[in-house]
């Protein structure tokens, strides 16, 4: 079975994905994604930007192979996903920390590397290198609940990086971090991208982060999620903080904001109006 798009430059291809949750026809049925298509090139940094609940995590989950969409297909590196993860291609950094509380930080890394079938001799080297990159090396022997929320998220992200897959799916990895740490880690990520040619799909609610990191920003509509606009950011990686001072940066940021504002207004308005079906 050949993939619909066998182009070698395309890392991720999503074709006409529709996702419904809940029993069909019941009042709980939610149309999360409505006919979404997108292509992400190899080595590209893409941000998904959109109001809360518009289906960003759902797109990542489908691409990551956690479940099959109601309709449509996702292709990763030329292979159809069909609800089965491709751990050799994709590393997932979830929105919530998925560190196992019964293992220390280092043990969490070890099992992640073990699950992926890495050579045992490399486990600790890779783990410590990834932890050093996020400034958490001295907490290797701590248990996750001995860390602050932000520290846990840094570790969680480092665990995604340590397996060195060509594709990284990151669902708001910086959400619990302070602005400064976000910036520093963002710069690191940009450097990583330049050095390793990784493909990264990144979900964020921060406009500055989206503009600073992305090659392209996919702005989504409120639920049911669709791709509303794609914004190109023509700036090579690695990016320096100076980029944020350029007028181009604030223009792009404002453009994103204007696009999102309408959508967010719509979501809020929909929530305020009482639904007649409820009573």
């Amino acid at each position: 079975m050949s993939a619909p798009d066998a182009n070698n430059d395309v890392a991720i291809s999503v074709r006409n994905i529709t996702q419904r949750f809940g029993e069909a026809g019941s009042p709980d049925e939610v149309l999360a994604l409505d006919d979404v298509s997108l292509d992400i090139k190899r080595g590209e940094f893409v941000c998904l930007l959109g109001p809360s609940g518009c289906g960003k995590s759902t797109i990542l989950n489908i691409v990551g192979g956690l479940f099959k969409p109601t309709q449509g297909t996702a292709t990763v590196a030329g292979r159809l996903v069909e609800g089965a993860p491709h751990p050799d291609q994709i590393a997932f950094v979830f929105q919530e920390s998925t560190l196992l509380p019964w293992y220390t930080v280092i043990e969490n890394f070890r099992i992640a590397l073990k699950f992926r079938g890495m050579n045992k001799a490399e486990w600790d080297d890779r783990a410590m290198a990834a932890l050093r990159a996020v400034g958490m090396a001295s907490f290797a022997r701590h248990y996750p609940d001995q860390l602050s929320v932000g520290m846990r998220q840094r570790v969680n992200m480092a665990r995604g990086l340590c397996v060195e897959t060509p594709i990284l799916l990151m669902d708001e990895p910086f959400a619990a971090l302070d602005e400064q740490t976000r910036m520093v880690l963002g710069e690191d990520l940009s450097q990583l991208l330049a050095a390793r040619q990784k493909t990264i799909v990144f979900v964020t609610h921060s406009l500055a982060e989206a503009v600073f990191l992305s090659d392209r920003i996919f702005v989504m509509t409120a639920r049911p999620g669709k791709i509303k606009t794609i914004i190109d950011v023509n700036e090579s990686h690695p990016r320096s903080p100076d980029f944020m001072l350029e007028p181009r940066f604030s223009e792009l940021r404002n453009e994103c904001y204007a696009l999102l504002r309408d959508e967010i207004r719509r979501t809020v308005a929909a929530q305020r109006d009482p639904q007649p079906a409820g009573t």
Partner: protein, 276 residues
């Protein structure tokens, strides 16, 4: 110099030490009251001073090799019943909890079996298993196995979807997932079941022991009770209580040692660390 040595000894007690001392003091007070009651208030056919019970423990119970053997059998029955309960409880629990379908089919049945007062079946059990150890083991087993099953099932059920998804996305095999995600998650719940199981197991075995009074510990309790001889009677009951306490403690220690993330810290081996 002696003053310095003295002050070095007067250290404030830690919270734990204070709790421990008060606990000892409370127990001592209870023992003292029972002792005084035995000397001055009690009917000597129903209660004797604690000191006399201790004397009987030495003279009538521990020095009588037949009673010691009977207590030994009791320990054996508790152990065998418990080991069987763990094996069957965990296996049945894993089977019943492994899929939603199994759980919804089997779990209600298990819950109903659990709440049936089993004492009413004791005579029946003795009829089919005889007067020996088998009936006592069976009774201990039938008490202990249910809480273990129930806690294994509920432990499996509460595994977080997020952790399962993460493991899956990392390419964990079914076995990896069970070994690193499901089992460690279940351990606290499993030990809840094991603790409860031990309590009920002791109840079952000792109940059956006392009921079957033609041999074993039950025979001796009946003998002493019919002789209106509270000294050895309470000494024997005290020995059973001691056995029960030891078994419960063993489970507690095992829980402390085996719960993941509580005790072990492993060394980190990196190439950098090896080169100074």
């Amino acid at each position: 110099m002696s003053v310095a040595a003295n002050t070095a000894h007067v250290r404030p007690l830690t919270h734990g030490q204070r709790v421990f001392r008060w606990r000892l003091a409370f127990l001592a007070a209870v023992v003292l009251l029972l002792e005084l009651y035995g000397w001055y208030g009690a009917d000597p056919t129903a209660w004797v001073p604690v000191s006399k019970i201790m004397h009987s423990l030495y003279k009538d119970v521990l020095s009588d090799s037949k009673i010691v053997t009977a207590l030994g059998w009791c320990v054996m029955q508790i152990t065998v019943a418990y080991v069987l309960s763990i094996i069957f409880g965990v296996l049945i629990g894993l089977a019943a909890g492994s899929t939603n379908f199994n759980r919804r089919t089997l779990f209600p049945i298990i819950l109903i079996l659990y709440v049936i007062p089993q004492v009413s079946f004791l005579p029946l059990l003795v009829l089919s298993f005889g007067l020996g150890s088998a009936a006592k083991i069976a009774f201990g087993f039938s008490h202990a196995v249910f809480p273990i099953i129930i806690n294994v099932v509920s432990g499996m059920r509460s595994v977080r979807e997020l952790h399962l998804n993460a493991a899956r996305s990392m390419g964990a095999s079914r076995f990896d997932t069970i070994r690193h995600v499901i089992l460690p998650h279940m351990v606290p719940s499993l030990f809840n079941g094991l603790r409860l199981g031990m309590t009920l197991n002791l109840l079952g075995v000792i109940l059956a022991e006392l009921y079957v009074s033609t041999s074993g510990v039950g025979y001796y309790t009946k003998l002493f009770a019919e002789d209106f001889n509270p000294g050895p009677l309470f000494a024997l009951i005290g020995s059973l209580a001691f056995i029960a306490i030891v078994f419960n403690e063993l489970v507690r220690i095992a829980e402390h040692r085996l719960t993941p993330g509580k005790h072990k810290q492993t060394a980190i081996k990196t190439k950098k660390a090896e080169q100074p």
